[in-house]
């Protein structure tokens, strides 16, 4: 079993990175690996509690029916992250990045931890692989 770290720095409504990240995490869990997230910069916007609809369709996705086609995103980011949390995935948020965006602990789904770069540094000493999105 490997411990996979995933760093997400992009926001959910403009970029598809979050979806790639949670898809990788889903598959990693199925294969018995351990997964930990660190959400940094606009990545902190992914597990917001009050998200109620999926992002607008992404264009040109590889899995679209043909090049340039629109493809609906696979769910609401906060729900996908909640599912990961329920299966033991750790989701750590950069507290400085959250504060810059006016976000507090109550704005995030249950289970995420607000931390900082010292926590990420510690995580880097524990993981086997790092995926940056």
């Amino acid at each position: 079993m490997a411990h996979i770290g995933i760093l997400v720095t992009m926001a959910p409504c403009q970029f598809e990175n979050w979806e790639t990240a949670v898809d990788i995490a889903d598959v990693a869990l199925e294969k018995g690996h351990k997964v930990s997230f660190f959400l940094y910069d606009d990545g902190v916007l992914n597990p917001l509690r009050r998200q109620s609809s999926p992002p607008a369709p992404y264009s040109g996705a590889l899995s679209a029916p043909y090049p340039g086609a629109l493809r609906a995103s696979a769910g609401i980011p906060c729900e996908r992250f909640a599912s990961l949390l329920s299966r033991g995935v750790a989701v750590l948020i950069c507290g400085t990045g959250a504060k810059m965006r006016g976000l507090e602990a109550r704005d995030f789904i249950d289970g995420v931890k607000i931390g900082g770069l010292p926590d990420f540094a510690l995580l880097l000493t524990e993981i086997d692989r790092l995926v940056c999105l």
């Binding site: 770069l117 990420f120 000493t125």
Partner: protein, 115 residues
Amino acid sequence: MNKRLVVMIQCAPLGNTRFSEGLRLAMGLVACTDELAVSVILKGDGVYGALAKTERGEVSRYLATMAEWDVEPLVEAESLAERGLGRVDLASGFKAVSRSRVLELLTAARFVINF
């Protein structure tokens, strides 16, 4: 254990947060732990952040902290040349290195974080 971590920044210092947030992350990792050996590489439009004439604002604080820990940001020479720039344009505290050296650092790193 290989402790080498590279933060590679390819975004210009103005117009978005990628440059400053990349350096903030690098600074934080340098200051938070001695379990990692952190290198910073400026490549592509990221080299604009190393110019003597660039106004770096808050980012200067991050660079100063890294300097205290003897971390000298590296600037890819070929990226400078592609933009009509050279070593003479760099601010003090930045070191130009060749693309082949950048490749060596990337392939030797345990982790690479890209901004």
